[in-house]
Every structure is written in C-alpha cells, then in structure tokens.
C-alpha cells in the first residue's frame, strides 16, 4: 500500500528536519519520499495531517505488557511504535523460548514492535546467568534485571564480563538492595512527615558508583534505567564524559512529579524508584533537556485493587504508554525545550541507546510514524485509556497532545 501523509509539520529530530506543510510518501513499509513524491508514486491512501506533527514513532524504553493485546493497542494509541519490555513478567523472561513466544505474539498482534529485554540472571535472582546468547537469538535486544538489583557484586561483575564477551548491552536500574529494601518513599521531608520509611539517595548513588567502576573494568555497555536523583544523574553524566559506554533514561513521571505529590498518601504517587525532591526533579529535567537522558513511560499497569491500599502496601507504578507523548510535551513546555528536541528524547535517543536504525524519517527508513495534534486536549479518564492499567496520578487532568494516526512498517495501525 502506498500512503501519502500530507499537510503536516514533519519533524525528524535525528536529521534536523522541521518543515511545515510537506508530504511524507510511504511504499513497501518504507519512507520513499519527503516533500517530493518519487517518480510514478500513486497514493492508495491519503492521510491529511493538517495542523498535526508528523514525527518518527515513539520508542518506549520501558513498558510492562501484562495483557499484551490491550497494552500493544495502548502503545499505538499513544504513538508508540516500539516498546522495550522489561523481563520481570510472570514468569521472568529468562529462557529463549519465552522471548521467542513474546516476539511472535507481538508480531501476530501486529501493532507496536516488541523489543524484549532478556533476564540477566535466572529468575532475576541475581545468582546464575541466563542463556544470554540464546535469548539474544530469540530477539532480546539487551539484558536486564528490571527493578531487581543484583545483590552479589561478584555475580554482577561476572554477568557484565560475560555480556561484554558477546558485545551485549546490560540495562540496570541502579538501586542498592540494602538501602532500598524497606523503603517506600524518598527519604526527605515528606517521608519524615508522613511516617513513610525512606529510601535515601545513597541507594542510587552507591549502585551507580559500583556499576560505573564495573563498566570501567569490563568495558560492558550499560544503560542505566530510571535515574531518580540529582546526585545519581551527576555521576552518570561524569561517567559518560569520561568516555565510558554508559547511557541513561528517566521515567516521564519523574520529570514532572516530586515526593510532594504524595499529598495525603496518594498511592498513585508511589514509584520504584521513588519520586524524589524538587532539586532532583530539576536535575533530571536538565539532563533530559541537555540530551544526556532519554525519556520513557515506565508503563506499569496495576489493577485497581492493588492501588486501593495504604500507600506502603499499594503496588508501585503508573500507566504510561498513552501519556508518554502528552507528558513529554508538558515537560517540554515547562522546561522551555523546543518540540524537536523533546521528540528526540522519545524517538532518536532511545533508538541510539538500542543501537537500532530507527526513530527517524530519512529516505529508506522503516515507516514507523506518529501523527499527532500538538494542540488537541483530552481528559485522562479510565475510559479514555486503552491500557488495562488505569492507574495514574493524572486521572482527571487535561492532557495536551493527541495521537491521530500511528503507522508501523508503513501500515496504519491506529487512527482516530
């Protein structure tokens, strides 16, 4: 099918394209023309993108797919064309067969691409290595412990050595087990006032510090997920400056919320890692603005019953796939970041972290595209979300930025 997306503002952050009122031409699943139709191109379908932005499809560096069909539908409704899935499913993604099945299921559903992270260790227990090469062959893009730290530092060292042998990347969420195991909120004034057990910033900096040293020693490429503190971010930035193969991301909620948003024990403000203080939020925002951190949704669907509990007993996390774009736009507006730079954080930057030739709109690129109206607003209600996860600290709020069409491989997989 040949598709022409016309009249839109085409933004491709990677290639520095930001042009108003141009057409994108798609054939055989790829972009074949930008502005100018290739010779003999006849559109079988036209998409009018007047008033809309035509952007590369979003690449989400972390989304849990508890019910895969609903969540992949949610992904494309949010303009997300590729989702990186952490291995902390039930059962954990520690066997090639499981990864294989997940990838195939994703292909069958035919919405967003599924990019699984294989478990670094069996059962995510942080003890024995999983079959990394086998998992890679089954389609895993990198290896991770999700939010479960490797307690045994020797096991972590060996895992990184082994991954480095094959040139695999390891994704780690830096949290010291001992300093975080009993905590439920950022150790700060709010936790002290509310009587919530605290997780100190040192839980993050100690883990980041250890990992950086192990990267220096092993040469293993590491992506640090969900950095939450100013001090943690500063360590990562210094390591990157040193030339170490380290990248990082931040959860979009952490760019906009702080521990103050816990208010009167709002369980929807419970996250792992926890929402931290205002200075931390500012540092994460600065890092994202400077391009040192990518942004992801950290999509975590949680059933209503698991949130209707006292703060410390409620499951952490928030729905994210359908709010990644509007919340990134909201962040960009408050942080004074231009639209192309903001989109880079959720398109080209994740692609670069994954080492994929995607997240851009160059000629010949796979046509993974998001067409959204940057000015349309909608109210976040449970009914407005396709995800099974209705859990959000933003319920009832107005979101600005609405996806109109999503294309994966040149197929329109979502339209509204």
């Amino acid at each position: 099918m040949n598709i022409e997306i016309s009249n839109g503002r085409v933004i491709c952050p990677k290639n520095g394209v930001d042009r108003d009122n141009v057409s994108v031409y798609i054939a055989h699943g790829r972009i074949v023309g930008l502005g100018e139709a290739p010779k003999g191109f006849v559109a079988t379908q036209k998409v009018d993108a007047a008033g809309c932005v035509v952007s590369p499809g979003l690449i989400d560096l972390g989304a849990r797919l508890n019910s895969i069909e609903a969540e992949l539908a949610a992904a494309v409704a949010g303009g997300v064309t590729s989702v990186v899935v952490p291995p902390d499913a039930d059962p954990p993604l520690d066997e090639p067969e499981l990864a294989d099945r997940l990838v195939h299921r994703g292909d069958e559903i035919g919405k967003a691409r599924v990019l699984p992270l294989g478990a670094l260790t069996l059962g995510l227990k942080g003890e024995r290595l999983a079959e990394l090469a086998g998992l890679k062959k089954a389609g895993c893009v990198a290896f991770s412990q999700a939010s479960r730290p490797v307690v045994d530092t020797e096991a972590l060292l060996r895992a990184m050595e082994y991954a480095a042998t094959f040139g695999f990347a390891v994704w780690l969420q830096p949290q010291d087990h001992w300093l975080s195991r009993n905590g439920i909120a950022h150790e700060g004034e709010v936790a002290s006032r509310l009587g919530l057990a605290g997780i100190p910033v040192a839980a993050e900096t100690i883990a980041v510090g250890s990992i950086i040293q192990l990267v220096r020693d092993t040469g293993c490429r590491v992506h640090l997920t969900r950095i939450s503190s100013a001090a943690g971010m500063s360590l990562v930035q210094r390591a990157a400056k040193e030339g170490l193969p380290i990248s990082c991301d931040v959860g979009v909620h952490h760019l906009l919320l702080t521990d103050n948003d816990i208010g009167y024990f709002n369980p929807h403000a419970r996250f792992v890692p926890p929402l931290r203080g205002q200075a931390d939020r500012q540092a994460l925002s600065d890092a994202a603005a400077a391009g040192t951190a990518a942004i992801c949704s950290d999509h975590t669907p949680v059933g209503a019953d698991d949130k209707l509990l006292p703060f410390g007993e409620a499951k952490p996390g928030a729905t994210g796939l359908e709010v990644l774009l509007p919340l990134t736009l909201k962040w960009a507006e408050t942080a004074g970041v231009a639209l192309p730079a903001a989109l880079a954080r959720i398109t080209s930057a994740p692609a670069e972290i994954l080492g994929l030739d995607s997240g851009h709109l160059a000629l010949g690129a796979r046509a993974d595209i998001c067409v959204f109206d940057p000015n349309a607003s909608w109210q976040l209600t449970p009914e407005a979300l396709r995800s099974r996860g209705k859990n959000s600290p933003w319920t009832g709020y107005m979101m600005t930025g609405k996806v109109r069409h999503t294309l994966v491989d040149g197929r329109i997989v979502y339209t509204t």
Partner: protein, 319 residues
C-alpha cells in the same frame, strides 16, 4: 488540596492527624475535654451525646490499652461500642481493607476508630467514605504506622496545658525513638500549632527522622544539653526490636546516653513535668525513680486521655 479532616464548613469531621488542623480546633478539643473531666468524677459517668450511635473499634494492629480507653470514652458518651479484632478475622481471610469498611458501613456504623500498621490507612478509609457518599460516618485515627496518633498528641497537649497553662512560653523536649514514633509526630505538629516556641528532639541519629528541622524542631544528640531548662519532657517508648541491631548496640548503652535518670532530669527546670505515652520500659528509657517521682504525670495522662477521646468523638460524631 482539600483537607480531608474538615468538612465544607471547616468543621472537624475526621481526626486523622494533628497536622493541618488550625489552633482553634485543637483548642476546641481541649476545652471540650476539660468539660468532660467533671463527668468522670460523677457516680453515673455518662452523657448522652452519642446515644444511639455505633462506634466500631477497628484494630488492625493489637493494642489493648488504646482500644480500652476509646471503649470507655465511647461508653461514657452512651454509644454502642463494637470491638473488632481484625488481625484475627476478615483480613486473615483475604478481605481487603475497603471491603471490610463497606461491610461495616452496611451495619450502620457511625464512627470508626482505626488502628493500622500502615501509615495513611485512615486517610484511605476517609477518602473511600467520601467517594461512596457516606459523609455521616467519621474516622478517628488511633495510630497509623509511624505517621500519627492524634488523640495521644491531644491528650499530651491537654496534660501540658493542665500543668503549664500557657503554651507560648514553653520549652518542650521529646526524647527517644522519634523515627518510628507516631506519637512524636502528632506531638510536634500540635505543639508548633499551639505556639510552643521551642520544641526539641533528643536521640541518636539512628532514631531521628531526616529533615526534622523542617518540622520546626531543634535536634539534640546530647541528652543533657537537650534537657537544659525544659518545662516539659516527653519520653518515648523504645520498642524491643530496636534495642539490639543496626540502630542501637544495646539497651544498656541506650539507657546510659538517653535514659531519663534523676540526674539527667535535674538539667530541666525544677518544675518540669515528665510525660510518657506508655507502656514504659523501666530501666531502658526511664529510671523508676523518675517514673514514680513527683515530676511524673504519666498516670494523669491516662485519665486525661479518656476525656480527650470523649471530646474528639463527640465533636466529630455528636448530634
């Protein structure tokens, strides 16, 4: 953000924390409690303020003492009192907290007195009642996790006012395990709201919450320095499980540095009063000579506690 403790007219509808309550409401509770002190000295210790109302004591965590004082207070207000020991019933069968609440609402409850191990649990209940439109049911927090124990905080205020009359000239020290203490948090908010100019927290760093200064508290690690010229000394209970481990090396070392002995107490003003929320660990946080001495007002605290709980229940749920 709306204050979940107050109704649209700014009146107390739930008592969840001493934080966020205006001084006028705290004073109203203390004044009301004063009027109930007389009831306790009568032959017939009853007033009809909660006649026909049902008070449910929901203790998700054991506490015979607190539950008993609430029960006495409710009975003196002529309420029907139902004690539910939830640790052994519904939740053990997998029922969620809010399922339990829905069931009890259907039994025509008027007031829930809630004790729960998780900070914030009574807020969840109050919010749920608002959502299901049951403004006629009230919640009194009888202790939630480390967060708050507002009736204890208020009875402490009653005690201080009884002996010291005026809050605005006082120096008050709170000593011990403030980190895990809901009583300490409730005391701190009530004291600062009622105009106490100097609230001190005394304890080792391991037992103090971080950023305590942001709550308007002066932190002391040295007991003698912290007690100097204080008018009121509030001792906190040290739980057994804190005594040997990463927080403290031993009960003995704790007592040597933070135990209230007569010599230590001599640092405070000669007319300083000594309070304790109970139950006391003699020889761990307090020396018997102090606990039984002339400056201790620990038993009067218990008596005042009944009047304060009567006041709170009659204000939130009274006719």
């Amino acid at each position: 953000m709306h204050n979940p403790q107050l109704n649209k007219n700014g009146e107390l509808t739930h008592l969840l924390s001493t934080e966020g309550l205006p001084a006028a409401i705290l004073t109203q509770i203390l004044d009301t409690a004063a009027s109930f002190m007389e009831v306790s000295s009568r032959d017939v210790k009853k007033v009809p303020l909660l006649r026909g109302k049902s008070v449910f004591n929901l203790f998700f965590e054991n506490s015979t003492r607190t539950r008993t004082t609430f029960e006495i207070a409710a009975k003196r207000l002529s309420a029907d009192v139902i004690n539910l020991d939830i640790t052994r019933s519904s939740t053990a069968k997998g029922e969620t907290l809010l399922d339990t609440i829905d069931n009890l609402c259907a039994m025509d409850a008027n007031l829930f007195v809630v004790r729960h191990a998780s900070s914030g649990a009574p807020y969840l209940i109050a919010e749920h009642l608002r959502k299901i439109g049951r403004d006629d049911i009230h919640v009194v927090n009888a202790g939630d996790g480390r967060h708050a124990h507002p009736t204890q905080g208020l009875l402490d205020m009653y005690t201080i006012r009884h002996y010291k009359k005026d809050f605005t000239q006082l120096r008050v020290a709170i000593v011990g395990d403030i980190l895990h203490s809901r009583v300490a948090r409730s005391d701190i908010h009530a004291l600062t709201t009622l105009g106490v100019p100097e609230v001190r927290a005394i304890g080792p760093e391991t037992l103090l919450p971080k950023y305590l200064d942001k709550l308007g508290v002066h932190v002391y690690h040295d007991m003698a320095a912290g007690l100097r010229d204080c008018d009121v000394v509030i001792m906190l209970r040290l739980q057994n499980e804190r005594m040997n481990g990463a927080l403290l090396p031993s009960a003995g070392e704790y007592f040597r540095h933070y135990g209230l002995t007569p010599q230590m107490l001599a640092q405070a003003k000669p007319d300083a009063i000594v309070m304790h929320p109970g139950p006391m660990n003699r020889g761990v946080e307090i020396h018997s000579a102090v606990a039984d001495g002339p400056q201790a007002v620990i038993l009067p605290q218990v008596t005042f506690g009944i009047a304060v709980r009567m006041a709170v229940m009659s204000i939130v749920a009274g006719n």
